[in-house]
Symmetry: D2
Subunit: 139 residues, 4 copies
Amino acid sequence: MTKQPFIHQIRVGWADCDPAQIAYTGRLPNFALEAIDAWWETHVGDDWYRLNLDRNVGTPFVHLDLDFHSPVTPRHPLLCEVQLKKLGESSISFHVIGRQNGVDCFSGNFVNVFVVADEFVKRKAPEDIRSIVGPLIVG
Amino acid sequence: MTKQPFIHQIRVGWADCDPAQIAYTGRLPNFALEAIDAWWETHVGDDWYRLNLDRNVGTPFVHLDLDFHSPVTPRHPLLCEVQLKKLGESSISFHVIGRQNGVDCFSGNFVNVFVVADEFVKRKAPEDIRSIVGPLIVG
Amino acid sequence: MTKQPFIHQIRVGWADCDPAQIAYTGRLPNFALEAIDAWWETHVGDDWYRLNLDRNVGTPFVHLDLDFHSPVTPRHPLLCEVQLKKLGESSISFHVIGRQNGVDCFSGNFVNVFVVADEFVKRKAPEDIRSIVGPLIVG
Amino acid sequence: MTKQPFIHQIRVGWADCDPAQIAYTGRLPNFALEAIDAWWETHVGDDWYRLNLDRNVGTPFVHLDLDFHSPVTPRHPLLCEVQLKKLGESSISFHVIGRQNGVDCFSGNFVNVFVVADEFVKRKAPEDIRSIVGPLIVG
């Protein structure tokens, strides 16, 4: 059985572009982050906003890296594939690939840790989240 | 002789913060990028805007990575140290450390390539730029 | 015959929110602008990016105003209704209403002028655009 | 006796610019907001972050309007003058003018109301704030 890839679509516009007529580098991590936020919403039912405010679970970033392969422009929708790569005791890692028109534009890795949101103290991943997302790991 | 570190100061404000009451992760690469842009302005005399528009030299990013050590907040100015690490034939690499109140908040690496701006085609680093920035490499 | 209202849907997320747990004020004009950009794409076939780059037609803003009625949050999609209000000889005016969950969150007015994009000089609205958008004026 | 105008300086960069090679319209309200935030910090001692988190005083916006006179670019620093125009029982109004190189680039009006931050309920302006900022009104 193959897992359905999770794809989050983003509209890239004039607002995202710099004078080089491509999406500004600083926007690209934001696109990847939005895709991860949407991954949470789709798979767990809570996006970062609800996780933090309703469940007091925060997932601050400890690492991100990105390689840029091809410019992003408003000419095509941006399709961000989010792959869950690892679920540690209190951390979670994602790989994100941004594509336009069949071309890989950027790809990167993102590591979060679980914290008690209102104390910013590390905690284990909540059991219900672990049981939902565990099977979603992409080898 | 020691080189004077290049420090770019940024005002972090309410606008930069998310409901976790810290600067949003997606803002942090932008802070580092602004510091690199300011490094160009200070050392070469041209920021990215002038490099591109006045000299037709672009420096698109091919890579960035960041580790997040401690939250960034509006309580202190953000001091971004930019270190030139490597000047290749047609690439340039930076290390950036973001500090608040004496604490390292984030650090990361950034790699650009030189392009003919209006053609987006790789080129060698311009000679005058090479001669100015070469001696600035931080070992 | 009634005109179909133009509604552009936006995903509001954690990234858009400030420590007050609502979308930051500075994000709201950006949401309205994105909706106007999408209006162009839908009705004229060219968004601002294509208008500028492919047709050399720019539409810089000369005015915007916004009233904020109710906070915007990630709890609901943001539905932005864009109404074309006026098409002058070389200007165009929009009214935008942002709604979440049936509640008006903000509304405002936006005025652009037509320019030759690469000269930033005022020009008349192109005839084909005038003939397409003229009938879309909402009284 | 004349009052010293309050001027907040902003570095405009590549990141702020769109393919028209000028600061994107959606950035301009953000520049004005940052200037108002800095006004609070300078005159009251608390920026929005501290007002909200340390004093439980919020100042959400109910209105903003902006007229755009001349493009903003990275060629010059952006000097934002903030004038306090009115202090109502539970509201406060500002006029902001953004200038570059001696030219007025934009100007606009901004109205906030005072709320109990963690309840988002309207309140009177705190007495100490009233006494500090009252004399700063620019006729």
